[in-house]
């Protein structure tokens, strides 16, 4: 890394006048982005770090309270741990499910059948529906009395649960809603599947591999870089999960869907405790960072890149 930087420096030093001019011009052209990034992203990020050590409440000048917010979160706030537990539970349920479902759909959509473009479009449609609208539709689908889901279950003789109003089923219900909007991941998997060279499969056929073996020995190893990408993105998404829960359950029933971001939002805007919420945000940042790092480090063992 350092060596590379040194090389870069050397390169800049050895630039011709013309090249140096281009570099300056280039930097000038991207400067709106750099300035925007510094002011609109980096500054707020570090402001929130500062505020997390204060009792900031939006209006009054903040008072420095040191580690108080963090101490209170870890020692006196039951809902902090509950919301963290709910979020990790959601992550552990939603993440594997979304990898399996997206991959399975992509494999199905990769088969050579007539009208496949139609089906590919069909599975992508949910992703262009705004979250608020899909949440409203899903509230009806999950309605225990008149909802489509329980009506379908009744046909096969199952008495469906009250989904969103049951503390046990509320989280799985939200996972179900999330899986419905998995279209963009499916498309990425599909692209990866189509990028696998055909000769591997031909060679496998010659060796007498069945379709199961072809899937697990060729397809999946070949698309591990995409699974890796999905895992990293999905982890960040799951830990920041907010909109659907905010609309559909509001954290209920009995705090069963009080996710981390929902609790953070409540502290910031309902209870007007911005400093406290900032501390929560930084803890979330660290949690996501650690989770991502674990995935990145582990990826060396299971992600295959073509030589």
């Amino acid at each position: 890394m350092l060596k590379e930087l040194r090389v870069q420096k050397e390169k800049i030093r050895s630039l011709t006048k013309q090249e140096k001019r281009s570099l300056r011009l280039g930097l000038a052209f991207i400067s709106p982005w750099i300035v925007g990034f510094l002011i609109l992203i980096l500054y707020p990020i570090f402001s929130s770090l500062y505020y997390s050590f204060t009792d900031f409440a939006s209006f009054r000048p903040p008072n420095w309270v040191g580690l108080n917010n963090y101490v209170e979160l870890f020692t006196r706030d039951d809902k902090f741990f509950l919301s963290l537990y709910n979020t990790i539970f959601f992550f552990l349920l939603a993440m594997p499910a979304s990898v399996i479902v997206a991959l399975a759909l992509a494999i199905l959509l990769n088969s050579k059948l007539r009208g496949m473009t139609f089906f590919r479009s069909l599975f992508f449609v949910p992703t262009i529906v705004p979250a608020v609208a899909s949440a409203a539709v899903w509230m009806w689908i999950l309605n225990p009395q008149w909802g489509l889901l329980n009506a379908a279950l009744r046909l096969v003789g199952i008495h469906g649960p009250p989904w969103l109003s049951s503390p046990d089923w509320a989280k799985p219900s939200l996972v179900l809603v999330a899986l419905w909007g998995i279209g963009s991941e499916v498309i990425i998997y599909l692209a990866a599947l189509q990028g696998i060279p055909r000769d591997y499969y031909e060679a496998a056929l010659v060796d007498g591999a069945n379709s199961w073996q072809r899937t697990f020995s060729i397809t999946i190893p070949m698309i591990t870089p995409v699974i890796f990408f999905h895992l990293v993105n999905g982890t960040i998404w799951a830990f920041q999960y907010f909109t659907e829960a905010y609309i559909m359950t509001g954290g209920g029933p009995g705090n069963a869907t009080l996710f981390y971001s929902l609790y953070l939002y409540r502290n910031a805007f309902t209870n007007v405790k911005m400093g406290y919420a900032s501390a929560q945000a930084w803890i979330l940042f660290i949690v996501v960072m650690v989770a991502t790092l674990i995935i990145v480090v582990s990826s060396k063992r299971w992600v295959y890149y073509e030589e």
Binding site: S47, S58, P61, G252
Partner: protein, 442 residues
């Protein structure tokens, strides 16, 4: 130290310093806000007041017409720039970001006291004093509670109130052999009627006599009908463990258990979402609902023969108990024209014509007593108007932590009806949490 990282470190430090400075800048601005009250109100120089509110576009248009009609002729120098569809969150963000909002109407009264505590609102008490008026005489007292501090200071004024009342379906009463003109008179009768009006077919609830496990706000009304108090008005202490509140919850849950808690839950959960009111659909014979439901039923075009009145109570001492809330008008601390902003707030709050016309428009109730007489030609709406001025009408918990309180109450209620906690256990938790939160605001 790795000097290559220096620029990055400088950047972080600079950001932190900037962030810190951002805070101190606000200090000076906050202290600069004028506290003295001009005794001579007429403004010589024309000013424009930014006025944000939570009403929808159509309602804001009507409000603007009223401003045009009643305000502009007498206040040519104070222009009003109204913007609707902004909730408390957006006002909070805008104001803390330095944007100037002079006057705001919030759609929910719970932020007023916490915002006042945080220094976001102008104390209107000195301005009110210049009016030589007794607010208790002008306004419906229960709505006023949300803007009045225990020490008598006002950080807002009420604007169009709303409350809830008892609704009963006369057709379903007839079918059950009950006199449709005689709603239950007390809690015992309510339970009796509830049993008579409940229809169970093949083990499934087809019709519920009394809407059990309602919206948490409605359950507050039920607790009040049992004589429950959610806080002590004298000491400000949270009293969520009030035996009367627990009694109310136990009564409701025991009724649910008669029909099967799970069955009731699944029946109730079927009626969530807009346009899916079980009372309007004739699936629930008796319920609690807002004053706006009268207009809602009228506009929905459904033929429903129903009556409205006060919720039956456990004891005549609590007769006509109901919970009143308001859409508070507040003046924000960063206004440069607090005097003019107050004048406008005072005009909105006290003008009987505006109160009458606007409350009718949004199916709410007038906040000024002067607008109560002949408020509506609809006798059902008038029932709610009278209820809001009853001696037992009050705000359930107009305390600094009321927003926190309602989320805790909602969680507790959900835990009780899913069977995860008894009313005693759940209310113990509410009391502990809310009191701990309230203690931070001393």
């Amino acid at each position: 130290m790795n000097w290559k990282r220096l620029p990055f470190v400088i950047l972080i430090c600079a950001s932190l310093i900037l962030a810190a400075c951002g805070g101190t800048q606000k200090t000076t601005e906050a202290t600069k806000a004028p506290v003295a009250v001009a005794t001579n109100p007429p403004a010589t120089e024309p000013v424009t007041l930014v006025f944000w509110n939570g009403f929808n576009a159509h309602e804001v248009d009507t409000l603007n017409q009223m401003i045009e009609k009643y305000w502009n002729p007498t206040h040519p120098n104070i222009k009003i720039e109204a913007k609707g569809e902004v909730g408390p969150d957006q006002i909070l963000t805008a104001v803390s970001g330095g944007e100037t909002v002079d006057v705001a109407i919030l759609w929910d009264p719970t932020p007023v006291k916490v915002w006042a505590y945080q220094g976001a609102l102008v104390d209107l008490t000195p301005y009110i004093e210049t009016q030589n008026a007794n607010l208790e005489d002008i306004f419906v007292p229960a709505g006023l509670e949300w803007v009045k501090q225990p020490d008598g200071h006002y950080f807002g004024l009420p604007f169009v109130n709303f409350n809830r009342g008892f609704y009963w379906n006369k057709d379903l009463f007839r079918k059950a052999g009950l006199d449709p003109e005689k709603p239950p008179q007390n809690i015992t009768e309510l339970a009796e009627y509830a049993r008579k009006l409940t229809i169970v077919e093949n083990g499934e609830i087809k019709q519920l006599g009394w809407a059990i496990n309602q919206d948490p706000s409605n359950l507050i009304e039920l607790a009040m009908a049992f004589g429950g108090h959610f806080y002590d008005a004298q000491t400000g202490k949270i009293t969520a463990t009030d035996p009367k509140i627990i009694e109310a919850l136990k009564w409701d849950v025991s009724l649910a258990k008669e029909f099967g808690l799970e069955k009731v839950n699944s029946f109730v959960a079927g009626f969530t979402g807009a346009g899916n009111d079980p009372f309007v659909l004739g699936k629930v014979a008796m319920t609690l609902s807002g004053c706006w439901t009268v207009t809602f039923i009228k506009n929905a075009g459904v033929t429903l023969d129903y009556g409205v009145g006060a919720l039956p109570t456990a004891d005549p001492a609590y007769a006509r108990s109901n919970e009143v809330e308001t859409n508070p008008i507040v003046v924000l601390k960063n206004t440069k024209h607090p005097q003019q902003a107050f004048e406008f707030a005072w005009f909105l709050a006290t003008n009987p014509d505006v109160s009458r016309e606007f409350a009718n428009l949004v199916s709410n109730l007038p906040q000024v007593k002067a607008a109560m007489k002949n408020f509506s030609s609809d006798p059902k709406t008038m029932v709610f108007v009278d209820l809001s001025n009853s001696p037992n009408a009050r705000g359930w918990a107009p305390v600094t932590v009321s927003a926190f309180y309602i989320t805790e109450w909602t969680t507790a209620v959900q835990n009780i009806y899913t069977g995860s906690a008894t009313p005693e256990e759940a209310m113990e938790v509410v009391n502990k949490n809310v009191q701990a939160e309230a203690d931070k605001y001393k």
